[in-house]
Amino acid sequence: MFKNNLHHIYAWLLLSPALILMGTFTHIPSILTLISSFFSTGTKKFPSKFVGIENYEMIFDDPIFLEAVINNIWYAIATIVPSIILAILMALIVDSKLSGRVLVRMAYFTPTILPMIAVSNIWLFFYTPEIGLMDQIATNLGFNSQNWLGDKDTVLNCIILITIWKEAGFFMIFYLAALQNIPPELKEAAFLEGSSKFYFFRRITFPLLMPITLFVLINATLNSFKLVDHLFILTKGGPDNASNLILYYIYETAFSFLDSSYAATLTIFLLFALAIISIVQFMFFDKRTHYR
């Protein structure tokens, strides 16, 4: 029915609002970021000028950025793996016939709808030495007081714990959807064969959860690069950059140090990392659309 040539024009017209908006705030800024990464930041005394790859050389000479990258990699791994395991567990719990599972499901999911910035202050209370909740519990049980956020060895893991708390319930939803798609006959058949619970999970449930795991994995990786809200309240990347992450450092460089060119260079680095992930994701999406 759409055989005439007008339909090309119609399609482009329909798409134009989306294209204009997206181009202005995603694609053009990406290109502009690339361009400004080759210039120096201008001030009254030192006007902006073309500096070639000088900003990129600075990256490799910047110990804070290096630390932020290493932190971010650990942050990604240490949030993703436990979140996914917990999410599967939670989904299994909620999918079972546990009494009060509606309440339990609600509890698991609640962090998803709470703003990170608000709960960070509450987590600050949990972690604060002497007067905080963890320390109150620990000292009552006879343990020593622990300066969770004031110690370079523990601070990043404290941040990670909050992120896991925030994300696990969100990922649970996807697994729940996948679990509910498993045909009940499969479960009954396995039950009749008398296979153990663990065996059933390993041989049947888990493989069926694989595609959704890939999706969750990519989602979680992305989040680990953009979820930095809690740093603003809890640590500001400290002590001594032990909890600094790439996006927070970009924010600091651009808005505290007023060095937008170097921030642009850091952004390009981040975009490059994300591009690799996006290729993986696109291949994945492509496959999924072929299934349909």
């Binding site: 798409l15 499901r105 608000a118 729940l176 959807a177 396995a190």
Partner: protein
């Protein structure tokens, strides 16, 4: 039927402990908000209850205005998202036009390059458009959503073409077809996407922090962040009260419509 987690009491117990741990920040917020400030960090069961923290928080910061801002931001984003994504999704779902495949790929890039990453350059663009410190400036980068387009495209594709043709015979033009056929049939998708979008933007922080300057544009999250900035000395009672105030609409909505919420997120996730 066989099930996990219903046989032993240990599993039952563990499931509930996990649930308790998961809501503990919220439970604490309730404790601190409803008790006098001297009980904020001392847990005495018989501590008296009070509403004074809410009154004080409400008085100390213009939360009413923040609520209005958040509401305006969230709803303007949602409305424009629905319109823009519907049009684009329809084009992708029903037209076989020149460049459609490449264009779709280009749009999907936004799934990765989210606006958060581009705060520096987007900020410059906003200041060129004179949109710094405006409600529109907070929303604009999110209004064309690759996720929304993708989701709606999938839904539209599953709607039988015959319905569209029937409507066309009845004399419907393009927008009539969209409004009478596609939008009603895609209602669950809109609901799902809408809830995801509302919860996302109600809680969004980094970009609003960058782009807003004043009380008249600041959303709740940013207002809350500067209200509870640790620099000014942490007062957990007030912060908890303020936190509960600002999450209450979403939380209430979630508790009342829990099933829809979870199904919506589920629906949006598996599409």
């Amino acid at each position: 039927m066989k099930n996990y987690f219903n046989s032993t009491s240990i599993e039952y117990f563990a499931a509930w402990i996990l649930a308790l741990v998961w809501v503990s920040p919220l439970l604490y917020a309730f404790w601190a908000a409803f008790h006098p400030q001297e009980y904020a960090i001392n847990f005495e069961i018989l501590a008296p209850l009070t509403l004074s923290n809410f009154a004080e928080a409400w008085e100390q910061a213009p939360f009413a205005r923040y609520f209005l801002n958040t509401f305006l931001i969230v709803s303007s984003i949602l409305i424009v998202q629905f319109i823009v994504c519907t049009l684009a999704a329809y084009a992708f779902a029903r037209y076989d036009f020149f460049g459609s495949k490449i264009l779709f790929a280009i749009i999907l890039i936004q799934l990765m390059i989210v606006p958060e990453i581009l705060i520096v350059e987007n900020y410059k663009i906003m200041s060129k458009l004179n949109l710094v410190d405006t409600i529109l400036g907070v929303g604009l980068p999110y209004m064309a959503s690759a996720f929304g387009i993708f989701l709606l495209r999938q839904t539209f594709k599953s709607i039988p073409k015959e319905l569209e043709e029937a409507a066309r015979i009845e004399g419907c033009k393009l927008f009539g077809i969209l409004l009478r056929v596609y939008v009603p049939l895609a209602k669950p998708t809109y609901l799902a996407y809408g809830l995801v979008s509302v919860s996302y933007h109600w809680n969004n922080f980094l970009w609003p922090l960058v782009i807003t300057n004043s009380v008249n544009t600041r959303p709740l999250t940013v207002g809350l962040a500067i209200f509870g900035a640790p620099e000014s000395g942490v007062n957990w009672s007030l912060i908890s009260a303020a936190t509960l105030l600002s999450v209450s609409p979403l939380l209430l909505g979630f508790i009342l419509f829990q099933k829809q919420f979870i199904q919506s997120f589920m629906f949006a996730g598996i599409k």
